[in-house]
Symmetry: D3
Subunit: 276 residues, 6 copies
């Protein structure tokens, strides 16, 4: 996190620093507030604090909310005080983190709410479709928004997808995975119900139903509940939107993965208002 | 760019590498295609190439399109061939860059098109509201989408905003800027028409009209054309959407800045289809 | 890997370079061989190649063996040729990687062999007790030695240990883990047979029997097979040595974790002999 | 040191952090102790402190021992207190440094003690056969164990080895070294007594006797004392073990280099016991 | 700045640390002073403080002067106190920054003074001819010496030089620049008066007169004042020395760029005197 | 070296790249030459090549001279050809390295020549007063200029200076050094002839005569030759200029250290001329 903030500040300040802030009278102090201009869920507090702190340890921030809290338009998220030049130099970097990560949390929450109304046993989780360099921060923002995290990386678990199946059969893949990577998340992507049967028989711990409609999902869930281990989980991906996600939840999926919550979340608009 | 790709691969592969790819039979080769699943503008080719190359120099990519080219759903962007395991290990990172940057270019183009229809003399440019760590790549994607770049960083030019004006007057700020930072971009944010008069008189090279409606913009533009230097530029920001951007263009702004093209651009969906 | 090699070369060469090699006559060429001075298993070939390549692209290496192959004392592992000064400058760094990683692979193989003779169904895996900075390389060396990898990091799976149990009960921990981190490796360390019952009942996917003797292990394995899911795995740790590991395997453990293979593996002695 | 710790924490925590610690109840605090499970010499205190500090500044450590102090099985090395989750997240990284570096110090001490009993004028020093990336830390651990450091890098001094002598004669090498690298450590590896004569005549400051038996060493020492400068030093390497090292000391070597103390030191087993 | 200091300390201390300081008696404390041995302008205080702080937080520094203040030979710049070993270990790195950056500020001031006497409306600014890796620090030192900064990087503004004009005409270059990089510094290098006419007509904001004599400059300035925008600036470069700079100022240039202030500034000699 | 070049390019190009080069017509190619505008010694060829290569592998460079060769004004050092935009983007970074390092080599050569005429047995060497971050490159440039290198870092040898002697006596310092850091460069700074006696008696390998006049140096040299070991070396520092250096050489010093060759060397002016 420290490195991500340092990188962001460097790309905004090198080589000459903040030209505009250099014009301010020396010693000018500021009191201001971070204010939401939209509604959503707060995330990224620590990044914002780190940005202000890396610019100037003399900046003080008092938060009125925590990561994961709901945010309403016009709501004050934090009071910021310190040297005016320092506050304005750090402002944009702090807000870029806060806005982006709160945006991720906010969109996550909308999916989580839609699912919760449809089926409280279903959960929303994320994908590896994250913004390059921000994987860890975005996955934390997903948690702040009430979602859970699918595997953090290719190193964390086995997910046999359609492209892998061009090179090996489901049964062989699952057997190898149990041999080479014991104890781990072991999931197979299935596009057809026959593959579900195969995956469950081979001993997959998760079955990923990709690009099916809710009815197909319901049929596959029934199959898994009947043939699988009590703990075999069913995930749905593809064709999932805020409109359709409730139907997939009602179809009985344990988990619904949504790429959009990390790759297409609009920013939560947050500004800094300095008191005149 | 090399570092950004290396960071993204590291966050996806450490410490054990790609567990699933390790299950594939040794020597399996792949031929596949990068295929668009939506329409927009391509950007980020070099990042995608770098991701494949860092994983395995044996992967070959032949592009059918260049950055900045239009993309239609189903269109093949490139042919990819090489060791199956390597291709699948690099796939997600390559696509994360390509999808995100093409998303930025695509949304930029929509704004650019809307503006071009309304007033060919007006241009769309970006802001410093970029994703932390990706400033340079996103600004290049904006150019691929037909937009231009506002200042790349706080170090590149002077932009006196409302928060700065809590600490100094417009006239003093502009005079100091000319003294300390000669020759540079020198812009003043104005919320009221009186400020425009003040900024132009002081010698600002750009006037930023923030949160005004098109009529106010039109009045301010007239003022600038009358009182300003022949090369004084007028920028509009705030309240700008795909619906309203045409009105602002027709009001005569030289430049319209849109934060959304970098901070809220949805991904352009691109997939990798391996031939079976 | 590239970074680890660059770091190792930097710590051996900065700031003045190789003083001794600078004394050699310009243009002197070398032909030499990497020769084992002990027996074991080869690992780390790519690191050695990278070290030579970073010093001088003109150095050529022809390997006679691959990672994972058995090595006998006196055996030639590779032929090296190139500028004498470059070869000698890279030598120690290349050998430090090769010796250390082959040492890890070699000790792993000794455990794997001892286990295989006792119980072919039992496997040896590693721990997080790795050398700081070399986690990924050492885990790969374990695989070269025939072992498998336990979780690569704290981020990869849940392992509730005795120290965690000072803060929560087994049942609660497992339930939370299933809720927060669905689908993942979920293991509970048990020091007593009662804990095994509790862990299995809660739904742990792995049970770690710590510091038990083989008889206790046998009893716990029986318990797990009776009460657990068909796929619940039993791991043994603590008190494991080359002498005792066979007894633990015969007691029926699925997996035996051995910290020594990464934290206490003596180097495999490998030298570079330049032909006079 | 800060970077080495940051790297080690990153490889253990990215991208999702410590999954298991996330299950602990918020606000749970821990008091615990770092306890030795074997005997040896402590080293690496600062690395352990840095690891805890990088995770959470609220963790407090009170040491009962210093680097270089003897450690007995069961001895408490330090008391640790702070948030339970933070303590457990940092635990393994802190212990990996502490165990590895204390292992280096402990094995060094065993050699130092064996030498001291045989000949108090002889000293043990290390080699460049260190673990990649940990050169500085391991060389400090050798000092903690009572050893001294041979050159830290290729950049620090001249050591003409057998492989160099394939490209130049001893006399020429020494003369060039005095010319190009005045004032520095200047050592020649000798496999035969004739080379000793040659090296001393050329003006080497150290003579390295490689792979000789104690009788040969004694003869060479006599030769150096007779023909050399009063300050010419004799070093022994090769064939050195805990059993043989006393014989080499008695043969009159000034310095005995031991690669094993850095490349093959078993860990000193140290654990963290949290009070229930 | 933190990274530049860390890099400098690493190149002075790795891998064994400060051998000489290790000989000092434990607990020895020092009081000393940073004393100028020449006259000039102070710059680089923050780098020096950072160097001492990175070595030991216990070192205290009290400055008697600020960056930009005049320095006389023998003058005490700061009092330093703390552990003797730490102070001496950090000394050289701190002084290397302080001496180099004060050297840049001092030479800048000499040019600034020479210009001020000749024409108070003319200013001295720097170039991109900076020491690799120290751009930001040297540009700050120029400001401390009373100079201003030309563009910080190629990314900050457009400067069309003679080499660019081998590939395009002045008019086309300026027109493209206004189109692609609106609002930015836009400068054209002119070797002949005809080019000045062309550049001004095209709308360049700055005209760079390269390698002209003062008379030619005077003629070109007259031309610009007559034909250009009221804010078009004239810069002189080439053939500028402490002797000639006054003539160029009197010729009416707005800005004179001097590469020597960053690429050829002799160090300001500053030493550390420890009280006995 | 690769990192130093990458850092220098980053500080010149981020975040928007080379604005001016972006204006050039696509496909424009350049042929040009690196031409000296002054006389001196070439150094830094590899850095310049690396800068061009990191920007564009398609740029080709043919050198007519090697590092260490004499350079006359107007002489062509290399021919450069490739895409015009790439060549111009890399130009300044390549020249900054080349000019600075050749400047170091050139000033070194002037001292070396002055010394050679006075006393062929005396050599010029450098100090640790190098530009932060460029230690290794500047020390190589000193060698290119015919000088030799004093210790590369504090880690390489012992040099007891006046400030150290506030905390310990010469005899104790030398004895400790021989004990703790055997075989290494061991030097004592002496301001008075009594200290020389003391240092030689204690066994220092080098005696540094600081701030003495040539007569005092001659007396001290005589003392060392009489009382010291045949290989004890005498170094002179302080008060050394191009005018005085010959006198110190004639006084019999073995080595004369000159801080100015690294900290105050003016750039060797080198330009890139593109053929029209």
């Amino acid at each position: 996190m420290r490195d991500a903030v340092a990188l962001a500040l460097a790309e905004d300040l090198l080589p000459l620093g903040d030209l505009t802030a250099s014009l301010l009278p020396e010693g000018a102090m500021a009191r201001g507030a971070l204010v939401a201009r939209g509604s959503g869920v707060l995330a990224g507090r620590r990044c914002a604090m780190e940005a202000f702190a890396q610019i100037d340890r003399a900046i003080e921030i008092e938060w009125t909310l925590d990561d994961g809290d709901d945010v309403a338009p016009g709501q004050v998220l934090a009071h910021v005080s310190g040297p005016l030049a320092s506050v304005l130099t750090a402002e944009r970097t702090a807000l870029n983190f806060l806005g982006h990560l709160s945006g991720v949390a906010s969109l996550t929450q909308r999916y989580v709410d839609a699912v919760a109304q449809a089926n409280p046993a279903t959960r929303v989780w994320d994908t590896r479709k994250t913004t390059p360099g921000l994987r860890a921060l975005e996955k934390a923002a997903v948690r702040a928004g009430g979602g859970v995290n699918h595997r953090g990386s290719l190193s964390e678990g086995v997910l046999v997808k359609d492209n892998h199946l061009t090179g090996m059969a489901i049964g062989d893949a699952v057997a190898s995975a149990r041999q080479l990577w014991p104890g781990r998340l072991l999931e197979v992507e299935c596009d057809r119900i026959e593959q579900v049967t195969e995956a469950v028989a081979a001993g997959a711990g998760l079955v990923l139903l990709d690009n099916m409609d809710p009815d197909q999902v319901q049929a596959c869930v029934a199959l898994v509940r009947q043939q699988g281990n009590a703990r075999t989980l069913v995930e749905v991906s593809g064709r999932v939107s805020l409109e359709s996600v409730g139907d997939y939840a009602r179809a009985g999926a344990d988990l619904i993965s949504v790429g959009a919550i990390t790759h297409s979340a609009p920013v939560l608009d947050i500004g800094l208002d300095v008191e005149t």
